[in-house]
């Protein structure tokens, strides 16, 4: 089985090469077939690998394959190697599965676009990078995938590069990512410096001996790695690129900015959970930032009018939940939510794409309404996804979010304040998601006549993936049914070998098992569900029943509304604090140092040679007598030297 590992990222890479190199010559159907088939093959292979892994005894579930030695420099070794363990098996199934569905969806969505071949080539390249990231067996190779997904994100966000806002958004994404990557690199350096290797197995095995648990060095390392994760997964402070990234095509938003790339940060933290367990302060930082980001992004999502923007902020908010889970050492809960979020968020984006497609490009919700009867399949799928994200019991999102909330309350690394923030955010989440549903699908039809004439349900290639993902959004959570209901949590069980260390430390911290714990868990769950239902009722009230309330509320809280609508003016803040001084600094470097100092030095040297030669050439007077005199004086000196010397 280990011989097949490298094929999983290889198939999309071959697809990228074929589509990329033969761009213009292939007919559209062939391009689409190659792209989707390569991802489909990867998915089938990952299923195969998963079942193969399942057949092995739990303690031995690690399969490694080293393709070749990449770097051998003194004592530094880095391989092109792949590692399959329960965590990466889950990840490759999610990535290739959701990716495959989105590829099929794109066939219909991008039908009329001129950059058809380029799009699929980039998409395949992205799949290759993401699968590499997840399957890598050492930090350096993972970083290759990490950078690769950043690059593809840039390429795909700025896909319609003739539009200035799109290319600006692509640049913003890439640059913000790079700032985070700097922290990631520094963290890698410290790890290599202390441990001497970058291989995951070796690092995790020797970390407890090399680092002092709770010490300064390990905390700094984990914080640096987390900084990289904030860039990739859009947390505070480096989340600013994700809303702008909505300039890209909607399938791109679905794949990259909902299901896969943004989850790379979460994956990275779970992969290095051994290091984080040794630095409780770093864990606390992760949890706090996750919780704050979740709340913060949810509040911004309340006031947005663009349907994709609402979903973007929702993504940031849900990612905050995942980081909150990691921060309270509930790593498997984080991955669980990652999986369910991939299902329902991709579905949400794809439905939004379907709506935009039907509305001939209109994205502002204020001009939609009453689309329920025109787009039944889209409406139904979106409703399923909204139920999932709000945490309606029985749907996938309910199980994963509830587990995170419970763990943030009960884990020795969590506290009730974190739970409270998550609790309130759940309510806000339900509110803005149902606001989206009511504004888009119910109520008065607010679009103009021309658009209304064009409304049509999307073609089969777009609706079939919607249906599949809708089914997954409903049943996807059933692999992680909690103990509370009397089931064994299969998902957590599956990931146990990866979290061995973490679970031991949690068990060690748990001195006294509270007897009434089960009761507490039930109570919190019921409280959350109640809050969600109340929020849904409020959304119904304001946006469906008595829509004049929306206007009056907005006017009463107009200053707050303006603040939220403008995303708390963070972009302007960054522009003034960070970007402007940087530009001035580089102008200074250019005008003063480069032009005046360096060029001046070089030119000065050249002109000094010029002056010197100008002085020296006056020896050539052109007069014979002078030459004769000098000649003769040389003769005199020579004879004198020969005679007297």
């Amino acid at each position: 089985m280990s011989e097949y590992l490298f094929l999983v990222p290889l198939f999309p890479f071959i697809g990228f090469l074929i589509n990329g190199l033969l761009l213009g010559r292939l007919p559209r159907s062939i391009i689409a077939f190659i792209a989707c088939a390569s991802v489909g093959l990867s998915f089938i292979l990952s299923l195969f690998l998963f079942f193969g892994l399942k057949a092995m005894p739990p303690d031995l579930r690690i399969v490694e394959q080293v393709l070749f030695n990449w770097i051998i420099a003194g004592s530094f070794h880095a391989n092109i190697g792949f590692m399959l363990d329960p965590l990466s098996a889950v990840m490759i199934m999610v990535v290739s599965g959701v990716g495959f569905l989105i590829h099929i969806y794109s066939i219909g969505y991008m039908r009329g676009d001129t950059g058809y071949g380029r799009y699929f080539a980039y998409l395949n390249l992205f799949m290759f990078s993401m699968l590499t990231l997840v399957l890598a067996d050492n930090f350096l190779f993972m970083f290759v995938g990490w950078e690769g997904v950043g690059l593809c994100s840039y390429l795909l966000i700025g896909f319609w590069f003739e539009k200035k806002s799109a290319s600006d958004a692509g640049k913003k994404a890439f640059i913000t990512n790079r700032i985070g990557d700097f922290g990631f690199l520094l963290g890698m350096f410290i790890i290599f410096w202390q441990v001497g290797s970058l291989n995951f197995t070796e690092v995790m095995a020797s970390a407890p001996q090399v680092f002092i648990s709770g010490g300064m060095l390990i905390t700094v390392t984990c914080l640096l790695l987390f900084f990289g994760a904030t860039g990739k997964s859009a947390q505070i402070p480096l989340y600013v690129w994700l809303p702008d990234a909505m300039e890209g095509p909607t399938p791109v938003s679905a794949l990259i900015h909902a299901a896969t790339m943004v989850t790379a940060g979460v994956y990275m933290i779970v992969r290095t959970n051994v290091l984080y367990m040794m630095a409780p302060d770093a864990l606390m930082v992760v949890a706090i930032i996750g919780a704050v980001t979740a709340f913060y992004a949810a509040t911004i999502g309340l006031a947005q009018n663009d349907i994709k923007r609402v979903l973007a902020y929702s993504t940031i908010s849900q990612l905050g939940y995942m980081f909150l889970a990691c921060g309270v050492a509930a790593f498997s809960a984080g991955i669980f939510h990652l999986m369910t979020h991939a299902f329902f968020k991709a579905l949400l984006f794809m439905c939004a794409g379907s709506v935009i497609h039907a509305m001939s490009g209109q994205q502002d919700m204020r001009y939609m309404g009453g689309l329920k009867k025109y787009l039944p399949i889209t409406f139904l799928s979106m409703l399923m996804a909204t139920f999932a994200i709000s945490g309606i019991p029985g749907f996938s999102g309910f199980f994963s979010k509830d587990e995170i909330l419970w763990k943030s309350f009960s884990s020795p690394f969590g506290n009730s304040l974190l739970w409270a923030v998550g609790f309130i955010t759940a309510g806000i989440t339900a509110f803005y998601m149902f606001r989206l549903i009511y504004l888009t699908f119910y109520g008065k039809e607010r679009m103009d006549e021309k658009t209304k004439a064009h409304i049509h349900e999307s073609p089969k290639s777009m609706t079939v993936p919607l249906i599949i993902l809708a089914i997954l959004s409903v049943i996807g959570g059933w692999v992680g049914l909690p103990h509370l209901f009397g089931f064994t949590n299969n998902f957590e069980h599956w990931l146990e070998p990866v979290m061995k260390n973490a679970n031991q430390m949690i068990a060690a911290h748990r001195v006294n098992e509270a007897v009434g714990e089960t009761g507490m868990e039930w109570g919190l769950m019921i409280a959350t569900v109640t809050l969600v239902l109340i929020s849904i009722y409020f959304a119904y009230l304001i946006y469906n029943k008595r829509t004049e309330l929306a206007t009056s509320l907005r006017e009463r809280f107009s200053s707050v509304h303006k603040l939220i609508l403008n995303k708390y003016y963070i972009d302007e803040f960054y522009g003034a604090i960070v970007i402007r001084p940087l530009i001035y600094f580089s102008l200074f470097l250019w005008k003063v140092i480069d032009v005046a100092v360096i060029d001046g030095f070089i030119n000065g040297m050249a002109s000094s040679y010029d002056d010197m030669s100008g002085t020296l050439r006056t020896i050539q007077t052109g007069r014979v007598r002078t030459y004769a005199t000098i000649f003769l004086s040389g003769v005199v000196i020579l004879i004198a030297y020969m005679v007297f010397g």
């Binding site: 006056t618 050539q620 052109g622 007069r623 007598r625 004769a628 005199t629």
Partner: protein
């Protein structure tokens, strides 16, 4: 009794005067004549040495030197004429096209 060294000294003095003439004179004709003077001084020295050693080979050398000096003078004066045609001056300082 005059030793040979006296003749050599005379030749040396004439040579020195010839070099002085080369360095000082601004007139090309005078310069050429100083050049001939230097050649002449060398001739005198060869004759003296030849007498000292008692071989006639020195005389042959002087003969040939004389011939070459004549040829050189002829060609040189032809050049002077051409130069004068172009520049209409015989001041050697005016011929400074090789100046920087």
């Amino acid at each position: 009794m005059i030793s040979i060294s006296s003749y050599i000294i005379v030749a040396a003095v004439l040579f020195g005067i010839g070099t002085l003439g080369v360095m000082i004179s601004r007139n090309i004709i005078i310069l050429f004549m100083s050049l001939e003077l230097m050649l002449n001084a060398a001739n005198l020295a060869i004759i003296a040495f030849s007498r000292e050693l008692g071989v006639t080979d020195g005389h042959v050398f002087v003969f040939l030197v004389l011939t070459v000096a004549a040829a050189e003078a002829a060609v040189g004066l032809a050049m002077v004429i051409t130069l004068f045609r172009n520049k209409e001056t015989l001041n050697i300082d005016r011929f400074n096209l090789m100046k920087w």
